[in-house]
């Protein structure tokens, strides 16, 4: 089949073509410059004492003062620890659950039932964090919530004031994250499993391998490159937290900050609630730079394993 990858036409035959094609990209280029590249130059804000009257360029330089304040505050450690630990939990549990779901869906004899289960599990991915926060509230509300009123009270257990109890939130947020993403991720794994040559399974079945043996010795080994690559890419994003999950689901409750504050929510709160541009942009730059380094390292590792799967 002739694809675009086929031999290019000699440039001389279409001198204007390149410029016509270039003109198609203008809207995209403008959007990238405005919303992605100009903010990259804005990282100098982190090194300045911003004064609105003087503008960004005219404001005096502060050097690393903002970073000094940030890393001397206890927040820097809390938000770093939180985001890293949450992401580790999401990576480990998320991978185990979605791989298990994908393998189970693949082995389902009743295809229609399998597709139905997949569709239902995929649904939470389409709900906004605002809606999910309300769903969670209907369970956790102190005086009205399903858990306190329908489960704890009938069992004679003490009601829990969920929204001021930081200890329980690592479990709640991990559960909510699994609830939202397991269906979505299992679709990706299921696609890889569907790409496995069926003759492997047929040959194994002829030799008398049980389903369990086939999963262990055929499906899992052939799935492992995808798992490793997605995991490495997730490690590259370990400094980034989904702001909807960490801001909306705990309802922005102050007592929960010790276990729910991550870098993204910290940057948002210091900018919007406290108006502290210096600290906020310092934390943002810290996240960008360490995040960038982690992406580079994880990509290097991916390239070692499978050059086709690496990002660049």
């Amino acid at each position: 089949m002739a694809l675009f990858r086929a031999k290019p036409l000699p440039l001389s035959r279409k001198p204007r073509m390149n410029f016509v094609l270039l003109s198609m990209m203008i809207p995209g280029v403008i959007a990238l410059v405005v919303f992605s590249y100009l903010p990259m130059f804005g990282i100098i804000i982190a090194f300045k004492d911003i004064n609105y009257a003087k503008g960004i360029i005219g404001s005096p330089w502060l050097g690393f003062k903002n970073f000094e304040f940030l890393f001397k505050s206890p927040d820097a450690w809390t938000i770093t620890r939180n985001v890293v630990l949450y992401n580790i939990a999401f990576i480990v549990l998320g991978t185990v659950c979605s791989v298990a779901a994908a393998i189970a869906l693949d082995r389902m004899r009743n295809r229609r039932a399998g597709r139905f289960y997949q569709a239902v599990m995929f649904l939470p991915y389409f709900l906004s964090w605002i809606v999910i926060a309300s769903l969670v509230f209907s369970f956790l509300s102190v005086d009205l919530g399903f858990i306190n009123r329908r489960i704890f009270t009938p069992l004679g257990m003490k009601e829990v004031n969920w929204y001021i109890e930081p200890k329980v939130w690592p479990f709640i947020l991990t559960l909510v994250n699994l609830w939202r993403y397991t269906g979505y991720n299992s679709v990706i794994y299921l696609a890889s499993i569907a790409g496995i040559d069926p003759t492997y399974h047929e040959a194994a079945a002829v030799d008398g391998a049980t389903s369990w043996q086939q999963i262990r010795h055929i499906t899992l080994p052939l799935l492992s490159p995808v798992v490793i690559i997605l995991t490495l890419l997730a490690i590259g994003r370990i400094f980034f937290g989904d702001i909807g999950l960490f801001l909306q689901v705990p309802m922005n409750m102050g007592p929960l900050f010790p276990t729910t504050n991550v870098i993204d929510t910290y940057v948002y709160r210091t900018l919007i609630n406290m108006g502290d541009i210096g600290m906020s942009s310092a934390a943002g730059l810290y996240q960008s730079v360490v995040g960038f380094a982690l992406v580079l390292v994880s990509n290097l590792v991916v390239r070692r394993i499978d050059p086709d799967k690496s990002l660049f």
Binding site: M17, L21, P27, S36, F126, F146, N148, S192
Partner: protein, 296 residues
């Protein structure tokens, strides 16, 4: 033939039924609460099934506040405009990148790709939006920052490469068609499934967005559905102030407003269109994700 043990299949079905119940239960709980009257709720708490079906919460939400009607219209307008423009911008940017005869293809690929790796962070982005573009409290604030998406460009580029044969472009060119004619008359049709996938992702992103209004809107005129719901949630009294500013009712009546059930009724109204449209677009998106994950 692969042998399936009966028992294993039954166990699998049981596990999946349990998982599906876990996925759907919160939605039904909220639906149940929204149809319960406020008195029952404050006496016995949230429950799945109302003993007596009440539409009090919906009547309150729909009649007492035109804010929701407004937010609905605004969200629909933002979703339509944002999806059209965003999909077009991405489709146009990705097309030359897929053309092997485009001279600057590598440079522009890197240009878009780098934005996936490094960001300037929230603060500079915010200052550009507010101080340079003056987006605060405008229609554009609600969709313009999302028009370009590096991930969609990558997906679309792959789709063109795999599905559009170069011979068609060649023969159209021999017939004297210009690049724009080729794109809008031929390429768009051949790449329809890919464009549709991106349009669907855009639609869902815009419908579910609360982040842009959180950052860039403080005038209630520009509250979209999700953000209005956020305000209700973060301050349950907000509905009361809305109602009081509209009709000037007394404090006694305000206290009896169905605020909890109204919150859940709003939740149902906000997720309703997505959940109802879900069976139609679900299969499409599964296909889109599958293509993206295998090929990338």
């Amino acid at each position: 033939m692969i042998k399936h043990s009966r028992l294993a299949q039954t166990v699998l079905h049981l596990v999946f039924v349990a998982v599906c119940i876990a996925c759907l239960f919160p939605l039904f709980l909220v639906l149940g609460i929204s149809f319960t009257d406020e008195d029952t709720i404050s006496r016995s708490g949230f429950n799945l099934l109302p003993k007596l079906v009440s539409t009090e919460a919906y009547r309150f939400v729909l009649r007492e506040s035109d804010a929701i009607g407004r937010a609905y219209l605004l969200t629909i307008a933002v979703t339509v405009v944002g999806t059209l423009v965003g999909t077009l911008v991405v489709a146009l940017y990705a097309y030359p990148l897929a053309r092997a005869d485009f001279r600057w293809r590598k440079g522009f690929s890197k240009f878009v790709f780098f934005t996936m790796l490094f960001t300037g962070g929230l603060v500079p982005w915010y200052m550009i939006c507010v101080q340079v573009l003056h987006l605060r409290n405008t229609f554009f604030a609600l969709w313009l920052p999302y028009v370009m998406n590096a991930w969609f460009v990558m997906l679309m580029r792959t789709f063109y490469k795999e599905n559009v044969p170069v011979s068609i472009v060649e023969s159209a060119r021999l017939d004297g068609a210009g690049e724009y004619t080729i794109f809008f008359r031929i390429i768009v049709y051949l790449a329809k499934p890919g464009i549709a996938t991106i349009a669907l992702f855009n639609t869902i992103t815009l419908w579910n967005d609360w982040w842009l209004p959180l950052m860039l809107v403080n005038d209630s005129k520009w509250y979209n559905l999700q953000f209005l719901m956020y305000r209700v949630q973060s301050n349950i009294q907000y509905l009361s102030t809305m109602a009081s500013s509209l009709s000037g009712v007394s404090a006694d009546i305000l206290r009896r407003l169905p605020s909890r059930t109204a919150q859940m009724a709003m939740c149902v109204l906000v997720m309703g269109p997505i959940v109802l449209a879900y069976p139609f677009f679900q299969r499409y998106l599964v296909k889109g994700i599958t293509v993206g994950s295998i090929k990338e």
